[in-house]
Symmetry: C2
Subunit: 295 residues, 2 copies
């Protein structure tokens, strides 16, 4: 492993994740010798420059990746296909192309097919985030103690996987490899479905008659307040996540809706022991999380 | 208003809410001259005594309320009917009977009818809590800056309402009066439905195949972790809340399930603008909460 992971690292997108990666790279100094920043939104790119997040700021994405030995897509996953098309001819031989997208089968589909021979494709998903977005929202400690899941296609150069592993370890993340399809199922239940539910219940509350809606805001107890925190995340990112993990998300949502209907039935018919059993399972899972130090 | 709100205050139940009330009463000294503690669970009562939460500890509920000018039911709402039956003949004339239950129509139904003439019935609901339970879980600051909703039946003695208002103000709570039926609808959406959903999704995850379930725990992103925190609450309390706010909870759950089905349809058919609109409504509600300083 080289002392510095990449000679020139290009970050394509400088939102919450991209700007956090830029900050930790600048803070440590051993992730990239040169950091090139691109964003398709001129205001975000100008803000990144004002914050001093990179060494160079490129409005043109093909210029941004030229000569880079590391390229990481940090845009919403829905933009990956057109980005891949634009950058593919400009990727340097031997370069590593990676990303931070929350859905991994879609990345294989949208980006994998366009990767030129001689470029190593190592998709990644740092499982970290906050409800804030944009270049100001990032911070160098975002990935500390969090997982970063790599989903390299079969046959990917092991040295390239080792370099991406090293990059994420240096951000403080714990790295694990996983099959893309399995990744998408696990993330559907731990992250995508909870977000879909949180967005939905905020909409349900927003549809209530005016008087009640005002009181919903006034008396938001801890339950609803926690849901609104989850629901405050970036709309474009989440739209893209839902649409790009459709199959797994719909399967988990169908299972959840069946279970919610069963709870409704238990409430209607006064089946207290069914309800208690479900509440106890929630506690059991919470205890398991605490034992695994995830809580 | 007397300098001390109650001469002898009896707390019937010494869990999270009861023990928090006991702690703030002892810390301030101007809520009750004498604090009598009862709990139907001998271990909880012994623990309350070990913690020094009251002045007297009574295993017999009728003895606990005898001679008290204030009685507050701090047990799960499902136990209220039998408690009311046991204590009604022993309530002192002029005493105030109150409670801390999360459902208020059920309290009017289960307790209201049994209140003897000359006893003032002022139901209350401090909208505060944590995912912990039992006498050790309480703390004196639990109610600070939180709402306490009073739902006195029409015609209740205004001096009695004023005394309960003063008690809750002294805990640091903001007090508001509300109709019981309206209370139950508002709480169904801000608290009861979010808890039902959190319990349900933990069950859905727990039902997944063994391998995936292990990874659900391992990779729990912020979304799922927040749900498990909500889902860690007391099983008996929540069973009773669901069963005692059946109509409003089922209505809100039906609305939510319709909205979740509409989200499922948008995901299936790739309706990105529908999804973005829902995410944006979540953000809007979050911003409103922040403006109201509830976040």
């Amino acid at each position: 492993m080289p002392e510095i992971v990449f000679r020139r690292l290009a970050l394509i997108g400088i939102g919450l994740i991209g700007s956090s990666l830029a900050r930790v790279a600048r803070a440590r100094g051993d992730i990239a010798e040169e950091l090139v920043v691109h964003d398709s939104t001129p205001a975000a790119l100008a803000r990144a420059a004002a914050l001093g997040l990179g060494d160079r700021y490129e409005a043109d994405v093909s210029t941004a990746v030229s000569g880079a030995d590391g390229v990481i897509l940090c845009a919403p996953v829905g933009a990956f296909a057109s980005i891949a098309e634009a950058i593919a001819p400009h990727l340097a031989p031997g370069a590593i192309l990676s990303d931070v997208g929350s859905t991994k089968q879609s990345v294989l589909r949208d980006v994998g097919a366009l990767v030129p021979a001689g470029v190593h494709f190592v998709p990644a998903h740092p499982v970290a985030g906050t409800e804030y977005s944009g270049p100001d929202a990032g911070f160098a400690e975002l990935f500390e103690g969090r997982w970063c899941l790599l989903t390299p296609p079969a046959g990917t150069d092991r040295a390239a996987v080792a370099r991406m592993t090293e990059l994420w370890r240096r951000t403080g993340a714990m790295v694990e490899e996983m099959d893309a399809a399995h990744h998408d199922r696990v993330l559907a239940i731990v992250s995508h479905l909870p977000h879909l539910i949180a967005f939905t219940i905020c909409g349900t509350a927003d549809d209530l008659a005016d008087e009640t809606r005002q009181e919903v805001l006034q008396f938001a107890a801890s339950g609803f307040r926690d849901f609104t925190r989850i629901a405050a995340s970036d709309p474009t990112m989440w739209r893209d996540v839902f649409l790009n993990n459709r199959e797994a998300l719909l399967e988990m949502l169908a299972r959840f809706l069946e279970d919610a209907q069963a709870m409704a039935r238990a409430v209607r018919w006064g089946d207290g022991s069914y309800i208690e059993d479900k509440v106890n399972r929630g506690r059991k899972i919470r205890r398991s999380l605490i034992e695994l130090k995830q809580a």
